[in-house]
């Protein structure tokens, strides 16, 4: 069916035991409709079982498999070989671990650490508004919901945080900041003060320079920078 492609992956490897880091290159022949996770699995199966990489759902729903391919943070389970060739106009790819968290081995990073950012943003309803009556749901009009529903699609893959110009040491990061903004926009949240405090504190939204790389790389096509701007503007 589809013709095989010969591709080269230059993978940055890291061994936690020796603390050594090196670039290793693998050449594989694969079908165009294989995802990068399939290619990595193939390398494990046929060439090098020691190469470590991360994934879980393998269909772009969980955000476990973020890596950097030729500079772009993306989901390895969503990138087909032939699309990659078309998008990057090359058959050779540089694979790097995300820079948002410490590397555990090869392409696997400790996203648990990155998640601390999201935890700090308190993604839950701190104090929900009272309901009309027992057993009834809080009413939210579809129009209101439409203003923020896009942002609730975030799967915390941290691609945006990796791409962002300012998420190094002081900024909580686009996805975490957005998690707080979503709840500010949620009519059920009454703890607005606590939320605005999180929004505007030292690591808050003002550290964003509207470089919009977050929106550009987001695999869920969320216009993250739009929500961050709403936060700066105080329009929830």
């Amino acid at each position: 069916m589809s013709k095989p492609y010969k591709i080269t992956l230059e993978i940055k490897r890291y061994d936690p035991d020796t603390n050594l880091s090196w670039i290793q290159s693998y050449t594989v022949e694969v079908g165009g409709i294989l995802r990068f996770v399939d290619v990595l699995r193939k390398i494990n199966d046929e060439q090098d079982p020691t190469l470590a990489w991360a994934s879980s759902c393998e269909h772009a729903q969980c955000g476990s498999c973020g890596i950097i391919v030729n500079g772009k943070p993306l989901l390895a389970c969503e990138l087909l070989v032939k699309d990659a060739i078309q998008q990057f106009k090359t058959n050779s790819f540089k694979l790097r671990p995300l820079t948002i968290a410490p590397v555990l081995r090869d392409l696997v990073v400790d996203l648990e650490k990155a998640y601390e950012r999201v935890h700090k943003a308190k993604p839950y309803l701190i104090k929900p508004a009272p309901i009309p009556e027992e057993g009834d749901e809080y009413r939210i009009s579809q129009e209101k919901l439409d203003t923020y529903i896009e942002a609730t699609q975030c799967i915390n893959c941290f691609c945006c945080a990796t791409a962002c110009i300012s998420t190094h040491h002081h900024f909580i990061g686009p996805n975490a900041a957005m998690a707080n903004i979503v709840r500010l926009m949620d009519p059920r949240e009454t703890a607005k003060e606590e939320r605005t405090e999180i929004l505007y504190r030292e690591d808050g939204v003002y550290r964003c320079h509207t470089s919009r790389a977050c929106s550009f790389v987001c695999p869920k096509n969320i216009d993250v920078s739009h929500f961050l701007a709403l936060g700066k503007e105080g329009r929830f």
Partner: protein, 600 residues
């Protein structure tokens, strides 16, 4: 020789949740709400509970809105009973269907972003098998959040646990349950990043490790759904129930096995074989492409077996076509555009002009660790294991019997999660702190891990996995019959031997993916063995379990299969009666809750 393995540290808590998915965290949230100061540790294999498999569920969660003038919980109970092919437990059905709406409101209360109607209420959509008036017409019963219902649920229970300060430990596996006499007092865990073994001592332990169909070549399940929870329960001498009941979804996208929803066929998509013949006309002349899931799955396999299927070399898999080309443009653009985009993204075909390759894909496990209607794990139908609870897809209470209805699983996670949480709270009241590590703590775990680490064998993980997945797909898949099942059992024994000789490529314990996967592979082989043995023993066809040599349902088998396998291939069986309490209560239309015919 790798240095001797040992337990690095011991943690203590009130409740240990093994598996921080939808079910596990719903239980944890319930405990927190009742006693906020409870110390809870929740384990997950992924980096955050948010990445658990519940996140991928799309369609919806069934629940009857008391404000709905037409729908009633009784109808929902009937649908579930009928859907299960008369093999679910009616006490559980009643409990779950009666309290479904409460749970929807609970989720909404805690921040889930349900889709809304014009008046701002929670919107509902129809789903296969859910009917009004005992099968009269479609019921609007599935509450949903666009096509991300599972994500909405997962985020909500995770959020709630976060709020109460539940201690999440990610990137770890529970490898062994700890017991003090009969009482479960925690587990041994292995952390991926540091490669450290820890013991967690807990007053109560909940197993909620979720799905387990990764032993099939094509599966909608995530990489980590390897049946760990079942394997550690089996190793502890506990039974598992109804594992032979594996649900296959007829249209998985070839290769990845990603779900191509029933909605496509609802809109008029047609299944075609190699010669582009619309073959469902032969198998189901009236319902055609909208026949029930199990029937279509079987038809597709027949086509492939008889040489009318196709073969995809990239993914090394057989398939048939799903034809969407003839659908009107507005259907492509509006109604099914999201699912179509999956085909574009993952299979690289454009459904508007090309045929889409699909094949049945293993989707759901009805069976699991047997529990009573409160989530207590059963040692046998009369006896429970103190301190051990189970809920979610890893458990079987059993709401689904041998076949589940779409959207009932999410409902089960949440309601049974809560029920289990309640029971745990009750149990905690007079539960004593565990007295310390049992003397044999770690024996099983270190036995397994040192075998892998010290092997000099020539076997490789990939080879064994490959044979396993093909054997299960071909011989313990949709069609079963005695001879292939026996062959599969032999192969599994062989694979078990081979797996014990896999030489892992790295001997480090730190972030050792090969080691981790080899451990998972062993669990898969263990669970596969039970599936095959259960399928062999059940000489009838019921729900998702189809025996070509016994194609009819038989009253002889009106029970749940319990299987014990404390050591590999040391199998013993037991039976658990099907609960018929709705039927016995002689209430309204009780006759419908007898062993009725399943016809749609």
């Amino acid at each position: 020789m790798v240095e001797k393995l040992a337990i690095g540290s011991t943690l203590t808590c009130d409740v240990l949740v093994i598996g921080a998915g939808g079910a596990g965290l719903r239980a944890a949230a319930q405990i927190c709400e009742e006693i906020p100061e409870t110390k809870i540790i929740a384990l997950t294999k992924v980096t955050s509970p948010q990445k658990s498999h519940t996140t991928t569920a799309q369609g919806g969660m069934a629940a009857v809105d008391p404000r709905d003038p037409e729908d009633r919980p009784l109808f929902h109970m009937f649908d579930t009973w009928k859907g299960s092919d008369c093999s679910a437990d009616q006490n559980v059905i009643k409990k779950v269907c009666d309290t479904g709406w409460e749970e929807v409101v609970w989720l909404e209360r805690h921040g889930m972003h349900f889709s809304r109607t014009g008046e701002g209420r929670i919107a509902k959509r129809p789903f296969g098998g859910h009917m009004l008036n005992f099968g009269e017409k479609k019921a609007f019963r599935a509450c949903y959040e666009a096509t991300r219902t599972g994500k909405g649920i997962m985020d909500t229970v995770w959020d709630e646990c976060l709020k109460y300060g539940v201690n999440f430990i990610g990137q770890c596996v529970a490898t062994e349950l700890l017991f003090d006499d009969n009482r479960c007092i925690g587990a041994i865990i292995f952390r991926f990043p540091e490669g450290e073994f820890k013991a967690v001592l807990a007053k109560a332990t909940i197993i909620a490790t979720g799905g387990k169909t990764r032993m099939y070549q094509v599966s909608t399940n995530c990489r980590g759904n390897t049946g760990d929870g079942l394997a550690i329960a089996l190793n502890a001498g506990l039974p598992v129930m109804d594992l032979e009941a594996v649900q296959f979804h007829p249209t998985g996208m070839v290769g990845p096995g990603i779900l191509a929803s029933e909605a496509l066929r609802g809109e008029g998509a047609i299944l075609r074989n190699k010669d582009e013949e619309p073959f469902m006309e032969r198998y189901a002349p009236t319902a055609k492409d909208l026949a029930p899931r199990d029937l279509i799955s079987r038809s597709i396999i027949t086509e492939i077996r008889e040489g009318r299927g196709l073969f995809n070399e990239d993914h090394n898999a057989h398939h048939v076509w799903l034809d969407l080309r003839h659908l009107p443009k507005e259907v492509h653009e509006k109604k099914i555009q999201e699912i179509e985009s999956f085909f574009r993204r993952f299979v690289g075909v454009d459904p508007e002009i090309e045929l889409c390759p699909v094949a049945p894909t293993a989707h759901y496990q009805m069976g699991g660790i047997p529990t009573d209607e409160y989530g207590n794990v059963q040692r046998d139908p009369e006896d429970i294991v103190p301190g051990l609870f189970a809920c979610g897809e890893a458990a079987a209470a059993s709401l689904h019997g041998l076949n589940r209805l779409g959207t009932n699983s999410l409902l089960e996670l949440i309601t049974m999660g809560k029920v289990t949480g309640r029971k745990v709270v009750e149990y905690l009241k007079d539960a004593k702190d565990p007295e310390g590590l049992p003397s044999n703590a770690g024996d099983i775990t270190f036995g397994q891990f040192s075998t892998y680490l010290n092997n000099k064998g020539s076997e490789q993980y990939a080879g064994v996995r490959h044979v396993l997945r093909h054997t299960m797909m071909d011989k313990v898949g949709i069609y079963r019959s005695e001879k292939p099942l026996l062959e599969a059992i032999d192969t599994l024994k062989e694979l078990r031997e081979r797996a014990l000789h896999i030489a892992v490529s790295l001997t480090s314990l730190k972030a050792n993916q090969d080691l981790w996967q080899t451990w998972e592979l062993n669990n898969l082989i263990t669970v596969s063995m039970v599936i095959a043995q259960g399928a062999l023993a059940r000489k009838e066809s019921r729900g998702a379990h189809f025996r070509e040599d016994y194609p009819e349902r038989s009253n002889e088998y009106n029970y749940h299969t319990l299987v014990y396998m404390p050591e590999f291939d040391k199998i013993s069986f037991a039976k658990r009666a099907i609960d018929m309490s709705i039927f016995k209560a002689k209430g309204e239309r009780y006759e419908l809750f007898d062993y009725i015919e399943r016809k749609y």
